[in-house]
Every structure is written in structure tokens, then in C-alpha cells.
């Protein structure tokens, strides 16, 4: 397909090392599809990248309103990319509301691509504009490409006989074609994707491809007119190997399947739909060929109870939800702790409390994970720091849940779940397996017999002759598992449950320092999805000669055994968190150190600059 190749002389393109583009439009404009297509094309071009889908909770909010604006931000480049970028270089605004909501984020002098055809009086009014920003001086500080995309796309798809409504739905591919032109990107992957996606509606595929091409050709023509600068972003230098893009949701699902295989167990996944956790359920429901059984339960409680039932019967029971759903599961988590069964609880955190902001990201369930149950009820808490890291943390969750016969809560968040990044594809076959054996020997069997090293009780599953026994949520006598109201026994069992979990600190890596020295003036301690901005900010400040280190926790409970000593080696400790200071409190409690909070709960990730300012301020004092 020669016509798809880029004809412009590469010399005309200005080489830059990274670019942040924010696509924005109405939630019916297909912005997320545009973003994911651009992501795949960018990955295939060899750039490193990070994405941030930012969409409303409403599936179709009233058209043209500010609360119906959907956005997709991507940061890509020839250097290492850690975040989706602070401020966009380019804003694509397919309607006035998208401009209204997103303009403030745009870098001074940045480029705005606007569909002027959507800037009608009605749409301007809905977006809250008193004057048309295209006709006053309000956009003077930016490079504005105002193009009547609405008109051009309808012309481009005229020959396919679509309705006006269907024709306008090709707008996103028109603008994608234009952006591909500006960055010198190949369209063929997107064309292939459209052909596959609309295999049953070739007319729709053809129309979208025509729109994509028309946008691209428009770019070529307008470039001749000198309307805009063209760019080239060379491929990033990345470790050798085979890559793909992966979202946190996908990596988590695959990691769970890999972990279960390494444990030699079958997965039972009981879940109830909830934003932003559902992608994990969707991904696993398509993995039946691996023996994965998914069960969409009637509610959050049934979801976890079915998973515990499956673990009792010899599967690896897993449940998944977000904060409000995890709250509903609390009592059942206690039962899994008391009956000492393996269980993984995935918490895709979102902004709270209560329903909160379902599609906005937050890390405010750390207290809930570590402390949020009745009774003294310890479990393992792990946190993933990015899309591809989900794979590793999911495997670690499987290992600890089965080896120690305990529930493990895996904290991720909406941002990680939906964001994509390039992933050096691991080889599961090379991983060290951790096969879990069931108890089958009836000789001297008691359900609460324990492994003396791990304190894990032996797992005898129904169907095993001679090992019939009863377990439940009433306190049990250690060993026999019989109901016991004996005071000393409850003390002993409480101690055992605590010690079993704390002992896991001896089976996890010591806390490493991500970047910087292992002691010094300032440690920035993070967990979860603050990894990107902290990593970039510390990197920048180290390059400036500042004495700062980045420590990022994967194991939240138990904490790594060396963490207290490590943190005491720094004069100051700052804990950036997308909550009101939860890890900070845990660190103060555990180590009596003066950890200082840096908190943000706007539903948006930290900006690199916010962390940088905190580092500068701390080092100045």
C-alpha cells in the first residue's frame, strides 16, 4: 500500500525526544479508541510511552456538555517514559466542551487541533462559552489548527452512503490521520485494526479508513501551506527483546493465570462488575482455554464467598473489586483469614469515600487493606506500580497466598488498570514454579496442623478420603480445628495469625532503592501508581546534583524487614500519596520516624513538577 507511506522528506521534520498529546472530545466521539490506536502505532514505531485514559463515569453523558468530555493522554518518546506527562504539547479538542475542560492543562505555546465545525452556537453555549474562543483573542498564546473536520469528514465518507450520524462518527479517525501525518506515523496498523474490528460491516471499515486517509492527506496539503511544523520522534533505546503494549488490567489477568500455573492450581475468579475493576473480569472470562473459571456473582459478597468456597474445594480463589466492593467483602475476608485459606483480593482503587469518583484514580484504600476488618485480622498487602508491574505482583500474590495459606490483597488503581505501556514480554516457562501440594495423608491428620517454617496450615480438600474435617469462622483449637472458646487458645490463634503474616517479611526481598543513594538527605517513599512521577522527578533532581533517593514499596504488609533501618538513614522522608496520608501514618507507626506527607486527591495523577517542587522545598530547608 504505497499510498500509505510517508512521502515528506524526513529533513523537514523537527526531531524531538518526547511529546505529550491529549485527545479530547465528547464521550461519544470515540476518544478512547483514538488513543488506543495511536498507542499501538506509537509502540510499533519503537517509542517508549505511557498513557492516561481519563473518562467520565457516565456512559453517554448529554452530548456537548463539559461533564461528558472524555480524554486520552499519551506521552511518547525516544527516551525513557515514566508518566503520561504533566502538561500536553498538543491538545485535540473535538468540541467546545473539550477545549473548555482541557485548555488549562496545555503547555504555553502548545498546539490545539480544533474541529471548528463543532463550534456551533449551541455547542458553545453548552460548554459555557459566552464568546466563540476561535473568534476572540483567548487562544492567542497557542498554535491553533482550526479545521472544519465535521465538514471534511462528511465529504470524505460521502461515497459510502452512511447516515450523517454514522459519517460523523468517523471524525476521530480523520483527526487521527492528521496527527499521524504531523508525527510521521504509518497508518497501516490502524487500517488493519479497522478491517478486523468491522469485519462484519465493511462499509463502516471503509468509511473510517477513508476518514483516516483524508485527515492524513489534509495534513500533507496543509503542511505545504506552511500551517504547521512536522515532527519526528526516533525510536527509544530499550533493552533487547520482544515487546508488546499492555494495560494494567491485561497484565494483571495474565499474571494471575501465570501465578496459578506456577502454583499448579486452577483459577476460580468470582467477581461483580464495578468500575474500574471490571477489565480484569473481562480479560479472565476470555481465558477459559487455560481452565480459568469465572463467575459473575450476584453481589460483591457472593463474589468473594464463592472464591473462598472454591479455595476450600482446592482451587485458587480470586475476587476483584474496587473500594466500595472491598468494604462489602470485609466479613468474608475475615473468614478466609480465620480458616487460613488461600485467596487473592484485587482492589482496583478509585476515589472515595462511598461511591466517590468511580472513574478517577486514588490510592486511598491502604488503611482498608491493612486494617479494614473486625478483629485482629492480618493479611498480606501488595501494591503494583504500573501496567506491566501488575504481571509480577499478580504472580507474587499467587505465591504468597498459596505458600502461606492466607488472603492477599493486591492494590492497583483505575489509572494503572487502564493505562498502557510497552512491555518486554516475559517467558513464563522460565519462571521458578511454586507448586502447592494438598494434604493427602490421613495419618495423624488434623486440619490445623502447620508447617513449622511457614506456619501455614495443611490444605486438605474435600474429596480426599480419610481427611474429612470441619472448619468455620468460630475460633478453633489449633491443631484439631474444633470450636474452642478457651481463652488461652484465642490468644494463641491470634498470635499465630499475626506471626504467620509477619514472618513473610523473611521471604520477600529486602527493600531496594530505585534511584539515588541508600542514605542521605531526602528519601521520597512511594507505593503504587505514583511510581512514574516520583521516578522522573528524582531522576531530574539527581541530574541537578540534588541529594535525593526514590524508594518504592511493593510489599505494603508485611513491610520489608530492612525498611525501618533504610528510612532511618535519611534526614527527611517524604511520602507522596494520592490519599490523605495513609502510608505515611503506617511508616510513622511502624518505625517512629518523622515521615512527611505529600498528598493529592484531585482524581488526577501527580505531576512530575509537583514532586520536584516538594524535593526542592525539602532540600532548601
Amino acid at each position: 500500500m504505497n499510498e500509505l507511506k510517508i512521502k515528506t522528506d524526513p529533513a523537514l521534520r523537527k526531531e524531538v525526544s518526547s511529546v505529550v498529546i491529549r485527545f479530547a472530545g465528547d464521550s461519544g466521539d470515540g476518544i478512547q479508541i483514538t488513543g488506543s490506536r495511536f498507542t499501538d502505532t506509537t509502540a510499533l514505531a519503537g517509542n517508549d510511552l505511557a498513557t492516561f485514559p481519563d473518562f467520565p463515569a457516565e456512559i453517554r453523558a448529554p452530548v456537548g456538555t463539559t461533564f461528558g468530555v472524555s480524554a486520552f493522554q499519551i506521552n511518547f518518546g525516544s527516551r525513557r517514559i515514566e508518566t503520561a506527562g504533566d502538561d500536553p504539547d498538543v491538545l485535540v479538542a473535538l468540541n467546545p466542551a473539550a477545549l473548555m475542560v482541557n485548555l488549562a492543562r496545555l503547555k504555553p505555546g502548545g498546539m490545539i487541533i480544533i474541529d471548528s465545525g463543532a463550534f456551533t452556537d449551541r455547542n458553545l453555549k453548552k460548554a459555557g462559552y459566552l464568546e466563540n474562543p476561535l473568534e476572540d483573542a483567548s487562544l492567542e498564546a497557542y498554535t491553533v489548527l482550526d479545521i472544519n473536520i465535521t465538514k471534511l469528514v462528511l465529504e470524505a465518507v460521502k461515497e459510502f452512503g452512511l447516515s450523517q450520524k454514522e459519517g460523523l462518527r468517523c471524525k476521530n479517525f480523520w483527526v487521527l490521520g492528521l496527527v499521524y501525518w504531523i508525527y510521521g506515523r504509518d497508518r497501516s496498523d490502524t487500517v488493519d485494526w479497522l478491517r478486523r474490528k468491522f469485519a462484519k460491516r465493511p462499509d463502516i471499515a471503509d468509511a473510517n479508513i477513508a476518514a483516516l486517509n483524508a485527515g492524513n492527506i489534509y495534513g500533507e496539503a496543509s503542511e505545504i501551506g506552511g500551517l504547521t511544523q512536522l515532527y519526528a520522534i526516533p525510536a527509544a533505546v530499550m533493552p533487547h527483546g520482544l515487546y508488546r503494549t499492555v494495560t494494567g488490567g491485561e497484565a494483571l489477568a495474565w499474571g494471575l493465570v501465570a501465578g496459578a500455573e506456577l502454583a499448579n492450581l486452577k483459577i476460580f475468579f468470582g467477581s461483580y462488575p464495578i468500575t474500574p475493576a471490571s477489565p480484569v473480569l473481562h480479560a479472565l472470562a476470555r481465558m477459559k482455554q487455560f481452565g480459568v473459571k469465572t463467575f459473575q456473582a450476584e453481589d460483591e459478597i457472593a463474589a468473594i464467598c464463592s472464591a473462598i468456597g472454591a479455595s476450600y474445594a482446592g482451587s485458587l480463589g480470586i475476587t476483584s473489586s474496587s473500594g466500595p466492593g472491598i468494604a462489602l467483602k470485609g466479613e468474608a475476608i475475615g473468614l478466609a483469614i480465620s480458616t487460613e485459606l488461600p485467596l487473592i483480593i484485587v482492589n482496583s482503587q478509585r476515589a472515595g469515600p462511598s461511591t466517590g469518583l468511580p472513574t478517577k484514580t486514588e490510592q486511598s484504600d491502604l488503611y482498608q487493606a491493612v486494617y479494614g476488618r473486625n478483629g485482629d485480622a492480618p493479611l498480606v498487602v501488595l501494591a503494583t506500580h504500573g501496567p506491566s508491574d501488575c504481571f509480577e505482583v499478580a504472580i507474587e500474590a499467587c505465591r504468597l497466598a498459596t505458600k502461606y495459606m492466607t488472603p492477599v490483597m493486591l492494590l492497583t488503581d483505575g489509572y494503572i488498570g487502564n493505562a498502557a505501556e510497552p512491555w518486554l514480554i516475559p517467558n513464563v516457562a522460565d519462571r521458578e514454579a511454586f507448586p502447592k501440594a494438598f494434604e493427602t495423608n490421613a495419618e495423624g491428620f488434623e486440619p490445623y496442623n502447620r508447617d513449622p517454617d511457614t506456619l501455614a496450615r495443611h490444605w486438605a480438600v474435600p474429596g480426599t478420603p480419610g481427611l474429612e474435617h470441619r472448619i468455620g469462622g468460630i475460633e478453633k483449637e489449633d491443631g484439631s480445628g474444633n470450636i474452642s472458646y478457651e481463652p488461652a487458645n484465642h490468644q494463641r490463634m491470634t498470635d499465630l495469625r499475626r506471626d504467620k503474616i509477619l514472618n513473610i517479611a523473611n521471604d520477600i526481598p529486602e527493600q531496594a532503592v530505585e534511584n539515588g543513594e541508600t542514605s542521605g538527605k531526602l528519601a521520597i517513599v512511594g507505593w503504587g501508581s505514583t511510581y512514574g512521577p516520583i521516578s522522573r522527578a528524582v531522576d531530574t533532581k539527581l541530574a541537578e546534583g540534588k541529594e535525593v533517593s526514590h524508594i518504592h514499596l511493593r510489599h505494603i504488609w508485611p513491610l520489608p524487614r530492612n525498611l525501618g533501618d533504610l528510612l532511618r538513614g535519611f534526614d527527611r522522608v517524604i511520602v507522596p500519596e494520592m490519599n490523605d496520608g495513609q502510608l505515611k501514618t503506617v511508616l510513622r507507626d511502624q518505625y517512629l520516624i518523622d515521615a512527611q506527607p505529600l498528598t493529592k486527591v484531585t482524581g488526577q495523577p501527580f505531576k512530575i513538577s509537583e514532586i520536584e517542587r516538594a524535593i526542592d522545598a525539602a532540600l532548601e530547608n
Partner: protein
């Protein structure tokens, strides 16, 4: 272990655990426990495959008194645990024991869904119309006006009818018995033989908090007039003289009790029980011993595919193309070399 030989040797006592039974003296649960222990030796299931699952409440202590696998879970959620157990290992023979509060108040939602999904298991509902373990508050099946610590002036709640709920939820098996009923094991065997969720409501006397609540149906002097023991294909006849029957009023689509030989009623007017007829089952499940006798026996049995059969079928279809490799899956779609 040679399962076949073992099975022949099993007796009711072989299903009793070594734990001391701690229900109140005279509790109807003792009789139900005995009935279950008398039932299992006659069922062709290896002992190690039985799993008794319960929630919270007096009757939910049941698994501790059985020598099978047992899981005493949390309040109201036993159907969800049982569903997970059954999906994870369809070979297991799952019996769920619950009460009116556990099953129909806090666990009402799960009950609805296990019944409609038709998970292959037995549900023994020990209905004593009271909260026993929390010391006597009215339950969702308690009658209007019942005075309890939480309803000192009499309950104003309309009671729920468990078997009407069961049939409304789309269950394929519904039966009723009572704690001391000699033929309870026969009903339990029918419940077990039915593939799918089998609901058995067992009227159970709580001697401490709601004693004799079922006397209007179970008392010896009224039993013949207030109990209708249904049998598939047999006319619905009751009464000490065996001369009363149930007739359908075709105008109002309601049931009425009639006496054969009075007002021109003949045996031909009496309804014949058809346990596969859901409309009929719903009508007789609703009879409560007030105007009409309460029905006992298998009220509805009309099997269809079970939930776990459906899951297994999808799983097998997905596996039809041989054993997949996760590494291959991770390399599908767009990849590139760096």
C-alpha cells in the same frame, strides 16, 4: 481406600462427628440431623465427597455434627460458598443447611440466585419462624402479631413463604417436610436424586423461643385435617376419613378444600398431583394450614440443565483446540523487537 466396600459398611452412626451436639434439649434440629444421618448411607456417594455448608444460626451448626467435610461460613452467604465449591469441583456432593433468618433475611439475595442458577445441591431450610441463636427475635417467616423481644407489641411484618419464593425464583425442585417426620429421609433422597438445586423446607420446632408454632398443622389432633401429603400422579386427598380433597376453582384460579360426596363433589373433581407442573406447585406451596391444609412431600420436581454443567460445557469448548501456552498468548497480536 476401597470406596465400594466402605460404602456398604456405612451406617447412620458413621456420619456422626465426635463433637458434642449443643442444640437445646428438644430442639427439632436433632431429628433433622438424625434424618440426614439415616439418609446418607442409602446414597451412592463416597463419604469423602460429601460437603455440608452452612451460614450462621442454630441450624448452621449442623456441619460440625457430621463426620463429612463441612464448612461453617458467615451469615446468609452459604449459597455463595456452596456455588463456588460446586463450580470448583462438580464431583462434590454439596448439602447446604440454613434457617429462615440466615436463608431468607440476610441471605435472601444469595438464595434467590442459587435457586435460579440451579446449582446441583440440596438446601435444607430449617424453618422455625424465629431467630434462635440471637435469643428470640421475629424472623422473616414469623407470623404477624408474634410478640418477641424486638416486637413486644406484636410483629407487623408480613411473613415470607419459602417455597413460594423458591418457585418464584425459578427453582426446579421444592419439597416440604417437618423435623420429626418419619418419611423425611425419603424426601431427602428425592432431593438428592434431583440434579439441580433442591429446596427442602423443614418445619422445625424451636422449643425455647417459638414452641409449638406449627401445632396448627402438626399437632396430632389436627394432623389429618391440616396436612396434605402429595404424591406425583395421586389425587390430593386428605382428612381422617380420606374424604377431603383439593379442587381448583376455575373461576378464581384458586384452590379450595372440598368433601367428596358433599354438594355433588366426586373424586373426579379432585386435583391430581403433577410434580412437573409449576403453576400447580405454586398453588399448593402457598397452602399454609389456615384455610387449606399445608402440603408435604415433593411439591415440584422438573429437572433441567444444572449451572455447573453449563460452565463445564463452555470450558470444554474453549479447551477443544488443545492445551494452550500462556507464553504464546502473550506473544499474540502486535509485538515488536527492540
Amino acid at each position: 481406600m476401597n470406596v465400594a466396600v466402605t460404602k456398604d459398611k456405612l451406617k447412620p452412626a458413621d456420619f456422626a462427628s465426635d463433637q458434642e451436639v449443643r442444640w437445646c434439649p428438644g430442639c427439632g434440629d436433632y431429628a433433622i440431623l438424625k434424618a440426614v444421618q439415616r439418609t446418607l448411607p442409602d446414597i451412592d456417594t463416597p463419604k469423602e465427597n460429601y460437603v455440608f455448608v452452612s451460614g450462621i444460626g442454630c441450624s448452621s451448626r449442623f456441619p460440625y455434627y457430621m463426620s463429612t467435610y463441612g464448612f461453617h461460613t458467615i451469615h446468609g452467604r452459604a449459597p455463595a460458598f456452596a456455588t463456588g465449591i460446586k463450580i470448583a469441583n462438580p464431583e462434590l456432593d454439596v448439602w447446604m443447611v440454613t434457617g429462615d433468618g440466615d436463608g431468607f433475611s440476610i441471605g435472601g439475595n444469595h438464595m434467590l440466585h442459587v435457586l435460579r442458577r440451579n446449582v446441583n445441591m440440596q438446601i435444607l431450610l430449617c424453618n422455625n419462624e424465629i431467630y434462635g441463636l440471637t435469643k428470640g427475635q421475629y424472623s422473616p417467616t414469623s407470623g404477624v402479631g408474634l410478640r418477641t423481644p424486638s416486637s413486644p407489641d406484636g410483629s407487623v411484618d408480613t411473613p415470607l413463604k419459602p417455597l413460594v419464593f423458591t418457585l418464584g425464583a425459578g427453582a426446579r425442585f421444592a419439597a416440604r417436610g417437618y423435623d420429626t417426620q418419619k418419611t423425611l429421609p425419603d424426601i431427602l433422597k428425592r432431593a438428592h436424586a434431583h440434579k439441580g438445586t433442591s429446596m427442602v423446607e423443614i418445619l422445625q420446632n424451636c422449643i425455647v423461643y417459638n414452641d409449638a408454632v406449627f401445632d396448627n398443622v402438626l399437632a396430632r389432633d389436627v394432623a389429618a385435617e391440616k396436612q396434605l401429603h402429595v404424591e406425583h400422579g395421586k389425587p390430593m386427598i386428605f382428612g381422617a376419613e380420606k374424604n377431603k380433597g383439593i379442587r381448583l376453582n376455575t373461576q378464581s384460579l384458586t384452590l379450595e378444600a372440598v368433601t367428596i360426596g358433599e354438594n355433588g363433589v366426586t373424586e373426579a373433581d379432585i386435583l391430581v398431583h403433577d410434580e412437573t407442573n409449576r403453576s400447580l406447585a405454586t398453588l399448593i406451596a402457598d397452602m399454609d394450614g389456615h384455610d387449606l391444609p399445608a402440603a408435604f412431600g415433593v411439591i415440584y420436581c422438573n429437572p433441567t440443565a444444572t449451572y455447573e454443567d453449563g460452565i463445564t460445557e463452555k470450558l470444554e469448548a474453549a479447551k477443544a483446540n488443545g492445551k494452550p501456552s500462556l507464553d504464546a498468548l502473550l506473544r499474540q497480536g502486535h509485538t515488536w523487537e527492540a
